[in-house]
Symmetry: C2
Subunit: 239 residues, 2 copies
Amino acid sequence: MIEKLLMKLRRRDDIDAQEEKVLRDMVSEVRDFPGKTTIIREGEPLKHSTLLLDGLMGRYKDLRGAGRQITELHIPGDFADLHSFTLKHLDHDIMTYTPCRVAIVPHDRLKRITEEQPHLTRLLWFSTMMDAALHREWELTLGRRDGLARVAHIFCELDARLDIVGLMSGDSFALPLNQTELAECLGLTSVHVNRVLRELRARGLVEFRGKRVTMSDRAGLREVAEFDPAYLYMQNCPR
Amino acid sequence: MIEKLLMKLRRRDDIDAQEEKVLRDMVSEVRDFPGKTTIIREGEPLKHSTLLLDGLMGRYKDLRGAGRQITELHIPGDFADLHSFTLKHLDHDIMTYTPCRVAIVPHDRLKRITEEQPHLTRLLWFSTMMDAALHREWELTLGRRDGLARVAHIFCELDARLDIVGLMSGDSFALPLNQTELAECLGLTSVHVNRVLRELRARGLVEFRGKRVTMSDRAGLREVAEFDPAYLYMQNCPR
DNA sequence: CGCAATCTTGAATCATTTCAACATAAGTGG
DNA sequence: CCACTTATGTTGAAATGATTCAAGATTGCG
């Protein structure tokens, strides 16, 4: 059930059989949510964390009036809100984009892990630090990349992340977002995203059609995006 | 020496005398750096973390050619790179803006804390989660706020953070950045920051002169910025 | 005092947004 | 399975916020 989380963590560090069991046992329950639903609201007191097993979710913050910024997308194997364990409540909302299956991890079990499993604690801590690394890269995207590079970059990021958890099919992957939601990730309008997608398609770099992204020219796209996967911390780095 | 860190952490949670001693003992050495110096480079293997005691530092990422994005500013009491403990190397550079005094905290002492002090571990983990919360708010700023709101927002944030560690003087605080560096925080050009500063001054909201920010109308500025300090997690929330 | 860094301003340009219309795709119920 | 309805995608034209370029003013430092 938590295989994708394990794939991700094992990319980074060794996990022995005993630790694997502890991780499996931290799940209290599996739950399903419909798509396009806000499942956690800013400020709400939280007693468990949510591990995404299947589907697409995102964290977002709204500005009064209009303007939503999605701050991170979550794919299977990601904790959507492991940070709620230390924060107790979140500074943002979390929503599903598709129907999602999640594993519930009670905070008291996480607390137990911090008391008995220092190595696992450091691994889970690391996992939340990867979220922060993604945030920083998105800050760079939002602050300094132009429209073309922004769209290119998010496709490169998802390509690399989905590959880790085995969700690439050849050179394409499912991306169940519409252009408005994509624009909300990128600090652009949906109209502009549409024009940029046309340009990227015309250049033969990527296609985004029918909720599916095809990486026609991965190297070329990475070039446009100035994408360097180092910030994803995928190198093995035990203990 | 680590008083400002303690002020910050105690705002959130209780720290008993034994824990306070452990925190004091984690510092191996105090070091001084000159201003405008990159002290940690992306990718460099790290064996200690850096607690800022005095001065101003920042994390940044550069884009090839031009374009620097500062992803977070660090004030006294902040760990500049506590996240390097679990990450082992960083995805960004860290630099000083002024001469800085820092406390060095070896990673093996942090490791010891994760093995012997679960509560402190959770507090340190929390501390890195606050950085991530700042990143998310900056993503919102960079993605959705216009120039006026961006400048207003960063001043509101620094105002609130400096207040916690006792670095406000009445309604003003020192901000030893030039307009170019401020622009690098905000995803703007220095020219535009200059024009926005003029506008904010004209509206009687803030002044930024001689490396000092005066919050002439805090409520008005917060309104323009849509600033809500909730993301700074300053509420007491023990254990 | 004089040099270098920083700030300030104007004018032209540019990337992105806004507004608006139409096209296409994707459900939904009869 | 079609007709209808709504969501999503596409495109053009005008407006706008921010950038670029360039020059001059001010400040701070040695």
